[in-house]
Subunit: 385 residues, 2 copies
């Protein structure tokens, strides 16, 4: 298999409630920027990560639609869906296509247009990422599922609401330094605890928002990357794993098995351990998921995630900066785009282009992208070349 590098990236100016832009506008904008950034004059194949264009916009078959609007037909195009892990899964498929030798220049883009429906319809569309017949049909929504995980984490390990809030406060702080972020405002632990309770113990400021946005990267064989880009970033590992879809079927409510399994494969593939990761973007759809993930990815022991986060170990100047982009919480969470945008943040950090939120001397970063309540996880490890 050939080694693969990222040679160009693109996103919209700012993520958020982008009523003036349609799904196709969002994707094409990010994709054209990535193509321009890479300086390539064509692409051989493209992937569209998108969770639920059907329920959000009435449109399926977005692969053909977007190849057409991007002006790249007749190249192969395919949509990839694994709920909120669609982006990470698409990145793995693009990596496989280049690694296989079938294509040299592959576009991997993610998009979600979520604000054309009202709140309850968005909640229903997102609930389609759970085991619908057993979970959503009986009334459980995602805040409810993650609230159960949080309650159990508090019960088993003494995690506090303040520790959960600390993840949100940190991510909002990082987001103030990211021009793309949907919410660029500082908050405090008190703000979180005084915000509306969505599903006890999760307040609205423990939850990632509904967002319109897109993100795109261009992949090519690592040995050709410097023709296009003086500072390409290598994909040192690409791994996807699954777990029981429904929360009630898991061995534990507080261990995200798919994250552990994908991380184990990725660390092995890259030949490194969690101690050798300089920064990580992790899937903080809710604060409790970031707490569980810093444990399951091996940055701290199981049960210590709350304390670890509260101590500042995951802050920009901490031992392992987590969600330097602002994470899903502050940057926003257009579900299909999130996994691709995580890779873009790490790419920028490794090139020293992250501005005020730059992690000094970062050489290796990890992205963890998750679908549902943990049914799917994608882990990528990126390295300077």
């Amino acid at each position: 298999m050939r080694e693969v590098a990222i040679i160009g990236v693109g996103m919209n100016d700012r993520w958020g409630e982008l009523w003036e832009k349609s799904l196709r506008d969002l994707y094409v904008e990010a994709a054209l920027r990535a193509i321009d950034d890479a300086g390539v004059d064509h692409i051989d194949s493209m992937y569209v990560a998108c969770m639920s264009s059907g329920l959000f916009t009435g449109q399926e078959h977005v692969s053909s639609l977007l190849a057409d609007y991007l002006g790249v037909a007749p190249i192969p195009a395919v949509r990839v869906e694994s709920a909120c892990a669609s982006g990470g899964n698409a990145l793995r498929l693009g990596w496989l296509e280049v690694a296989s030798g079938a294509s040299d220049l592959v576009l991997v883009g993610g998009v979600e247009k979520m604000t054309d429906v009202d709140g309850s319809q968005a909640t229903l569309a997102l609930a389609a990422a759970s085991d619908f017949e057993w979970e959503a049909f009986n009334g459980v929504t995602f805040p409810g599922l993650y609230a159960m995980m949080a309650r159990r984490h508090m019960h088993e390990f003494g995690t506090t609401p303040e520790q959960l809030a600390a993840a949100s406060v940190k991510n909002h702080h990082n987001g103030t330094m990211n021009p793309v972020a949907q919410f660029q405002m500082e908050i405090t632990v008190e703000t979180v605890l005084n915000s509306v309770l969505v599903a006890d113990p999760l307040h609205i400021l423990d939850c990632s928002p509904v967002t319109d946005g897109a993100a795109a990267v261009i992949l090519c064989p690592a040995d050709q990357a410097k023709k296009f880009n003086s500072q390409p970033v290598k994909i040192a590992a690409s791994a996807v794993a699954t777990d029981a879809m429904a929360l009630h079927s898991r061995e534990s409510l507080v261990t995200i098995g798919s994250a552990k399994a994908a991380a184990e494969k990725a660390y092995k593939q890259a030949g490194v351990g969690p101690g050798e990761i300089d920064l990580a973007e992790v899937h903080d759809c809710f604060t409790i998921s970031e707490i569980c993930l810093v444990e399951d990815l091996g940055f701290t022991e199981k049960g210590k995630g709350g304390e670890f986060t509260e101590s500042g170990a995951t802050a920009l100047d901490g031992r392992i900066p987590v969600n330097t982009s602002g994470g899903l919480k502050s940057k926003g969470h257009p579900v299909g785009a999130t996994g691709v945008a995580q890779a873009i943040e790490v790419y920028k950090q490794l090139r020293g282009e992250a501005g005020k939120r730059q992690v000094k001397g970062a050489k290796r970063g990890l992205c963890h992208n998750m679908g549902g309540s943990g049914g799917t996880s994608a882990v990528h490890i990126l390295e300077v070349m």
Copy 2:
């Protein structure tokens, strides 16, 4: 890149209105049969081709759901969607994964559960495969789009309603010999022309039905295939291409550009021409599409598809038997499963296992799977080993 073979296949007993089976039942049944048929004790990765589980059943994230219900988590699983070409696209991705060397045993399954909604909701879900904002939103449905193609074909080339009907009559005849087929009944040209007019000139018997069903294959490296299977079938070519999504944006209403582009790549990859194909499964979602496709895949000249079909050239004993399975028209069209089922029919024909519909001495077959009104096409060429 490694050569890849199909070593096992599985489908449900019969496709149709399967009210007693859910989406997960259908997929797991076909997948377990494929695994059993291949005689493998594990799989390394899986693909789920599914067009619109969101609009048909409220469920997205079917990759994790089905890995879970199949009992194969934590392996990587991903859903692939390109409307009715989802199956063909998933087959290409599974082929890439094995060809790359990343995995040895890959399950590619397709599924659609379409009958849990009423007819108008099914029509709307299917219309999501068109350019929704420009086509479906303004009232065009798929029978309408294909009727325009048919009308233009008649105008340009003198194609007759009787010639369109001939495709349906042949496919129904073939379907009487396929135990899986939804409609196992002979019809005549007169039956077609006297059936309800859906969108002039297309009668209901020119249209493929709404169907529940699943199909699955197991892929492995060709050089390991005979360990599992005494008669594996090689994937000699796997190609996908796109075209303008909306019919009104095409240069011609009667040429399916994505089919031509994908076929050209596939013939080159396999090192053969259309004259060396012994049988073909083509995407007859409507009779007019089969007429156009026998032209665009190179089996006859542009404009001669009607005459060619009426002459019997595509019958079981004709020059190039087309849709020996019964095609979408008689076998049924559970959209995500169709592309995978086409490969199963060719696999069976090449192994001499097609019973009464066996094409004698078949050594090489082609599958063409299409999304929307031609926005995506996938072409595979399979060969005896």
